[in-house]
């Protein structure tokens, strides 16, 4: 059974911007895209090791919703957490990132939903 943690009001989220929530000791980046959908990724940028993905620019790549790391601009899919830039280097901080698809750097994706106007994530 998943446990859901409420983090904020849905209305507090600006379209196409992220926020970060602290759930236990996990930092979760929550994004609201233009069509109103929600996505949640780990906040840690695997390339720099800094906890900053929630502050990246939200957009699309060939239709897929994305966020670009604010530090060195690698683009991640909001759906799969996968880095969409060609030849991403290995996670320089911890070697291959957790849950990496072969050859690609991927950040963890978390379930997210709206319940009674509140955004909830599950980690």
């Amino acid at each position: 059974m998943k446990s859901w943690t409420p983090v904020c009001d849905y209305d507090a989220l600006l379209p196409e911007r992220g926020v970060c929530a602290l759930v236990g000791d996990v930092q979760v980046a929550v994004f609201r895209t233009h069509d109103g959908a929600l996505h949640a990724l780990a906040n840690r940028d695997p390339f720099s090791g800094a906890y900053v993905l929630s502050r990246g620019i939200v957009g699309t790549r060939k239709g897929e919703p994305t966020v670009a790391s604010p530090l060195h601009k690698q683009v991640f899919s909001l759906v799969s957490g996968r880095c969409l830039d060609e030849d991403p280097v290995e996670d320089p901080v911890e070697g291959a990132a957790e849950g990496a698809v072969e050859g690609a750097v991927t950040v963890p994706v978390y379930p997210v939903r709206v319940a009674r106007g509140r955004v909830e994530v599950s980690v």
Partner: protein
């Protein structure tokens, strides 16, 4: 390892050492030159009189090369293997390269010692001084260099005569018909041409001052300045006295490897006699230098002679010559009214192009030169009369496109096809084509177009427009939101490339708050939090300190804020103070204190005006001629907050000593006795560039109006992340075009540009003040949306030299 000594430090010597170092030569290279500076662009020498500085003309010395300037070599001791310098020193060599160039020929007529020559920067300085008290000048020699010297005298305000021995001007480049057209064009400019005339003596008065030039027929031309430009003589004296073979009429004899009669001595450039010829053009001299460098590195390059084609614009008249100057058949187009003369030489079967001459319109040179020795691409009449067809020509791969640097069409195509070059600057960087005289640049553009290079115009996958086009769309259609723009003119929902670019365009045009409404989502994290993100996710704070001037009280406030929030403090390279290590939730508290003390955002995070640096200026400095601090502050306050394609930096110096480094800035101002000189397009950074002089001795009002328009024109037309340096280089027509647009208003844009700047100034408001006043915006400055007071536990500091430093997990 081997020691190479180069004698002479002109363009050929420069190309030699540059090629050698680029190939990774690991021995010792010493260049000994008699002039007081390293090699400079002699081809562009005349521009020195119109404001280009000696530094601009001077080539950078390649790393590792030892130079001895102001030093003449007086002898070569081949037995000992060293050269002797005039101070009596000896420089040992394993390989010696003579690059001593040539000297202007001065005929041995009475009074010749009082005349000038036209070859070095010092020569020009001397001519400039002499011209101050002169009304008339004569140039002896009506060839390429003579006409250039005549143009120089004219630009110095002298009534100018040209005396040429041959029956017509430029006898080496044009035939009699071309010469007569050239003569009438030049006379039309107010110069007088005396062809078929020689010099009997230079007449001087009792004090030895020049008063005129007497022709062999006894007639006298009044002149206070006489310049000889009647040919060159190779400087082979060192070689001659060292017993090396020299030609009968001068020049150091070399083989195709550029080796002299002593195999450890090479000669390159204008001093060399290669295949029985002395070459007086930069292109062949460069090729010789490259060949010698290859040889020294063990390669097998050879110099096989060179194309003597020339194209130049003298006194505003284009003159060009390529290939042979005669042939079995010729086709001539002549328009004496327009002053145009074009002639092609063709083989007797009327199929092969042998050469051509152009006066007044050099377009056949550009389009047809690569066809020399090949079948004509179209009937000669089409080629000469309409100019049509020429643009569509398909050049064979081995046709030479750039003769200065010996680059063929095939080389250009390969560079384009391999993706190494996608525009003219790219081609210049990877093939060198177009980097010397520039006359092949139109050809490069054509080859790019023919290769189907869409010159990288689309911003990203969401917009097929360039930034400049988007700017116009937004302006003309009065678009105010990203959503409207992307729905009507783009696709998808944008990305980290187009969103900040559009945010910047909207800000340049409307100047609303960067975090207002939908715009908040367009900003890079730096603009989103009005601070610069650092490697550990903290931010830096840089308050504006206009002109670098600050009161002690304000300094104390900065110190107190830094101490109270535990920030790392550093003086920046931009004359202000950076406070680093602030967590998001601290930013509003920090700025509350700074704003209360009268500080504003410094936009260190934005693509916007950064700083206007200043020097001490006339208020304090014993050299200052204007108040540079006051001007810097005025400019910084005028343009603060102006969003632009890339950051904009500026500086104001109080005199020509230039302590504020204004010439490394996007716009730099240097005080003069009469007002202000304005320089544009400077850059430090990745690719440093000295700024160009746009206008001299401006009044304060003229200065400000010119900068207003310059900045607005840049903002309208530059590409995303294109600094002004690259923008100016990419402007069609360059600096002249810029001057025309913003100073002469040839496009009728100025009123618009002025209005736009007025709008910016009238609507400027400090971003931080406005953010602090808006609870909605401030509420976003938290590390965690569900725990606003909690600091980010991943941010950890250690300490270094008594201050904090980030520690990464």
């Amino acid at each position: 390892m081997s020691r190479i000594v180069v004698v002479g430090y002109g363009p050929a010597a420069h190309r030699f050492v540059e090629t050698l170092t680029a190939r990774g030569f690991d021995g010792r290279i010493t260049v000994i030159g008699e002039e007081p500076r390293p090699a400079y662009d002699r081809v562009a020498l005349t521009s020195y009189l119109s404001g280009t500085t000696a530094e601009d003309l001077t080539y950078p010395v390649p790393g590792g090369v030892v130079t001895r300037l102001n030093t003449r070599v007086t002898a070569i001791d081949r037995r000992a293997g060293h050269v002797v310098t005039e101070d009596g020193g000896a420089e040992p060599y394993d390989v010696l390269v003579l690059a001593t160039g040539s000297a202007p020929f001065v005929p041995p007529v009475p009074g010749a010692g009082q005349a000038f020559v036209y070859r070095t920067i010092e020569n020009l300085d001397a001519i400039r001084v002499a011209a101050k008290d002169a009304a008339e000048g004569v140039v002896v020699g009506g060839g390429l260099l003579g006409l250039e010297a005549a143009d120089a005298l004219r630009s110095l305000g002298l009534r100018t005569h040209i005396v040429e021995m041959s029956p017509w001007l430029m006898p080496r480049q044009v035939d009699e018909g071309g010469g007569s057209v050239l003569k009438s064009r030049i006379e039309g400019l107010g110069l007088s041409v005396h062809a078929g005339a020689g010099v009997q003596e230079i007449v001087t008065d009792a004090q030895g001052r020049v008063t005129g030039l007497r022709k062999p027929d006894g007639s006298l031309l009044d002149a206070q300045v006489v310049v000889f430009s009647a040919g060159i003589r190779p400087r082979d004296e060192l070689a001659r006295s060292a017993g090396l073979a020299v030609g009968e009429r001068g020049g150091i004899v070399v083989d195709s490897a550029m080796r002299t009669s002593d195999p450890s001595i090479y000669a390159v450039g204008e001093c060399a006699l290669a295949g029985g010829m002395v070459y007086g053009l930069a292109g062949p001299c460069n090729t010789m230098a490259e060949v010698a460098a290859e040889q020294v590195m063990g390669g097998s390059a050879a110099f096989e002679g060179a194309d003597l084609s020339t194209k130049l614009k003298l006194l505003g008249v284009e003159v060009a010559q390529f290939g042979a100057m005669d042939g079995a058949l010729d086709v001539t187009y002549m328009d004496p009214v327009a002053g145009v003369y074009k002639k092609l030489f063709i083989s007797d079967d009327a199929r092969t192009l042998l050469g051509g001459i152009c006066v007044g319109d050099a377009s056949p040179y550009t389009t047809l030169r690569p066809y020399v020795g090949r079948p004509l691409p179209a009937p000669p009449s089409d080629l000469l009369f309409t100019g049509a067809g020429a643009a569509d020509l398909d050049l064979p791969d081995d046709a030479q496109v750039c003769s200065c640097n010996n680059v063929c069409a095939g080389g250009i195509r390969t560079a384009i096809a391999s993706g190494r070059a996608a525009d003219v600057p790219g081609l210049k960087a990877c093939t060198r084509a177009g980097t010397t005289c520039g006359s092949c640049v139109p050809m490069l553009k054509q080859l790019l177009e023919k290769a189907g290079v869409e010159v990288g115009k689309s911003l990203c996958e969401h917009f097929t427009y360039s930034r400049a086009e988007l700017f116009d769309i937004v302006r003309v259609r009065e678009i105010t939101t990203f959503s409207q723009l992307i729905t009507e003119h783009g696709q998808g929902r944008g990305c980290d490339i187009c969103k900040p670019a559009v945010a910047s365009i909207l800000a340049s045009l409307h100047n609303g708050h960067v975090l207002e409404g939908e715009r908040a989502a367009l900003q890079d994290t730096n603009d989103a939090f009005l601070a610069n993100i650092q490697k550990n996710g903290t931010y830096s704070v840089v308050p504006r300190i206009p002109g670098g001037e600050i009161t002690p009280d304000k300094l104390i406030v900065i110190g107190e804020v830094a101490r109270d929030f535990g920030l790392y403090t550093k003086i920046t390279g931009g004359q202000r103070i950076d406070l680093l290590g602030a967590r998001i939730e601290q930013l509003p508290e920090i700025w509350r204190r700074l704003v209360d003390a009268g500080f504003e955002s410094g936009h260190a995070y934005g693509k916007a005006l950064r700083t206007v640096k200043s020097c001490v200026g006339s208020t304090w400095c014993r050299y200052g001629v204007q108040d540079s601090v006051g001007m810097a502050i005025a400019l910084e306050l005028r343009y603060r907050g102006l969003r632009s394609p890339h950051k904009i930096k500026s500086a104001v110096s109080g005199c020509a000593r230039e302590c504020a480094e204004a010439r490394s800035k996007d716009f730099g101002v240097i005080a003069t006795e009469q007002g202000w000189n304005l320089y544009v397009g400077g850059n430090g950074g990745f690719r440093p560039r000295h700024a160009d002089l746009l206008a001299k001795d401006l009044t304060t009002d003229e200065l400000i109006r010119t900068i207003d328009r310059y900045l607005m024109f840049y903002i309208r037309t530059a590409d995303r992340l294109q600094r002004t340096a690259a923008w100016i280089e990419s402007l069609d027509g360059g600096l002249d075009h810029l001057r025309e647009v913003i100073m002469e208003d040839t496009l009728g844009l100025c009123a618009d540009l002025d209005a736009q700047m007025e709008h910016h100034i009238a609507t400027y408001a400090d971003e931080w003040q406005a953010t602090l006043d808006d609870p909605d915006k401030i509420s976003r400055f938290v590390s965690f949306v569900n725990a606003p007071g909690v600091p980010d536990p991943s941010i950890v500091f250690g300490s270094e030299r008594g201050q904090i430093r980030p520690v990464m997990a």
